[in-house]
């Protein structure tokens, strides 16, 4: 029973509908420091998926009785703008956003030096402005950059990408139709380009072998994201001549 609206084929030969080959990522675009009022901010795009993240803090954490006397407490909100998808999303709380907010927060919690800022809170907001699948990956990449932009101490950046199985073929960086009409969707995030996964979410049916292949491919994807993230940080803040005091 195929879903209404499914295209006839998603992969023709070794090319996907948008012309990419199986292991190609969509073009990535990023920037930092674009929201002046935020302590740190960043955007991250996979093709037409556009995520904007802002960080406020470390700042006093309220309510006081929930403060941690030894650490900063991270708070994270992932949200999709009502106009970000084909059908309008009703604004406000929904279960999917709550779950994704939690997994993004846990991924970032594994790298932030929370012990450096006891009794404080660090607020992280990831807004999806335009969605074409892999939104939590774009959101997490943007949030990671925003934390660096904010001067929040971290072990390393967090890098996230998606891998999928469509028409029995394993592909990198799912777009909308591939996610909706494909067989498997796997979102991961790693600590930098290390073999350390801080986010793994998979939907769909897959054998152990297929899964391990997807994991290997995802590490390549995260490596590409890592490169892009490092590039924008160096590019944006590169120093001029260093002679003057």
């Amino acid at each position: 029973m195929t879903k209404v609206g499914a295209p006839e084929k998603l992969i023709i030969g070794t090319k996907r509908l948008d012309g990419r080959s199986l292991e190609d990522m969509r073009p990535m675009e990023t920037d930092v420091g674009i929201i002046k009022k935020a302590t740190g901010s960043a955007i991250f795009k996979f093709g037409n998926t556009y995520a904007l993240a802002a960080v406020y803090g470390p700042k006093p954490f309220h309510p006081r009785f929930l403060q941690d006397p030894q650490k900063a407490v991270l708070k994270c909100r992932y949200n999709m703008a009502p106009f970000s998808t084909g059908d309008r999303i009703r604004p406000g709380y929904n279960r999917r956003s709550t779950e994704i907010s939690k997994v993004i927060r846990l991924a970032l919690d594994s790298v932030v030096f929370v012990e450096d800022y006891p009794r404080t809170g660090i607020e992280i907001f990831a807004e999806i402005i335009q969605a074409n699948a892999s939104t939590r990956c774009a959101g997490l990449n943007a949030a990671s950059l925003a934390l660096a932009d904010a001067g929040v101490p971290m072990r390393e950046l967090v890098c996230s990408c998606s891998v999928g199985k469509v028409e029995d073929t394993i592909i990198m960086d799912l777009d909308g139709p591939e996610d909706m009409f494909g067989q498997v969707d796997l979102a991961v995030a790693t600590i930098g380009n290390q073999d350390k996964f801080v986010l793994v979410q998979m939907d769909g049916v897959v054998t152990k072998d297929e899964f391990m292949k997807m994991i290997e491919l995802s590490k390549k994807g995260c490596g590409s994201v890592y490169k892009k993230q490092k590039e924008i940080l160096r590019e944006k803040y590169k120093t001029g001549e260093l002679n003057d005091e």
């Binding site: 404080t120 072990r155 001029g240």
Partner: protein, 237 residues
Amino acid sequence: MEDEQVTENTSNSTLLVKERELVTPGDVLAEGLDFLPSSGCYREDNQIKAKLLGLIKIKNRFIGIIPLSGVYVPRPGDGIIGFVKDMQSTSWIIDINSPYDALLVLGEAVGEFVDITKRDISSYFDIGDIIYAKVLNVTKSKHVQLTMNDHRAKKLSDGRLLKITPSKVPRLIGKQGSMIELIKNETKCQIIVGQNGVVWIRGEKEGLASKAVKTIEQESHTGGLTEKITKLLEKGD
């Protein structure tokens, strides 16, 4: 007899960055056990890595990072500008532009004996008053105490306040205060710079001075800054 030299390659340790190089979180700065992490850096097994986006600062074997952004974390000895946000019977709570508020107790603020049954402490400092004070003590969980027992400490009135990223304060002050003196002279203003990134300006050309301060904040990581600021001050309002 050879002179002992401290080279970049000491035994089997390697330094991988230079002074004022821009680094990002996770960058490997040195390998081997001879180098030590200072503020903004951490050790992971055999490597020293960056915690922050910022510029490298090397002192002997210590590798540190001057952050490009970030909030103010008070350290004992810092001179800061804050404002009174709350009071209790014998102390004031001071907002010091930090995730951490500071406490100023009566004994550290006033030199004489005060009979609090006869005199309300608001007569010394009231809510909203701006003060320049010194950080006396910071506990492990970052409870901060201030003191006015310092020749620079005083209440600041009139003028205007600006906030800049705390890590850029040294750039604003300049080598031996040269940058801040330049601005003071050209704008005929009193300017006090707190380590917490709060700047107080009072005088003739407050607007021009503010503009100069803001420009230094935005361009702090680039070179030729003295020239840029001199030009800006010459142009006037």
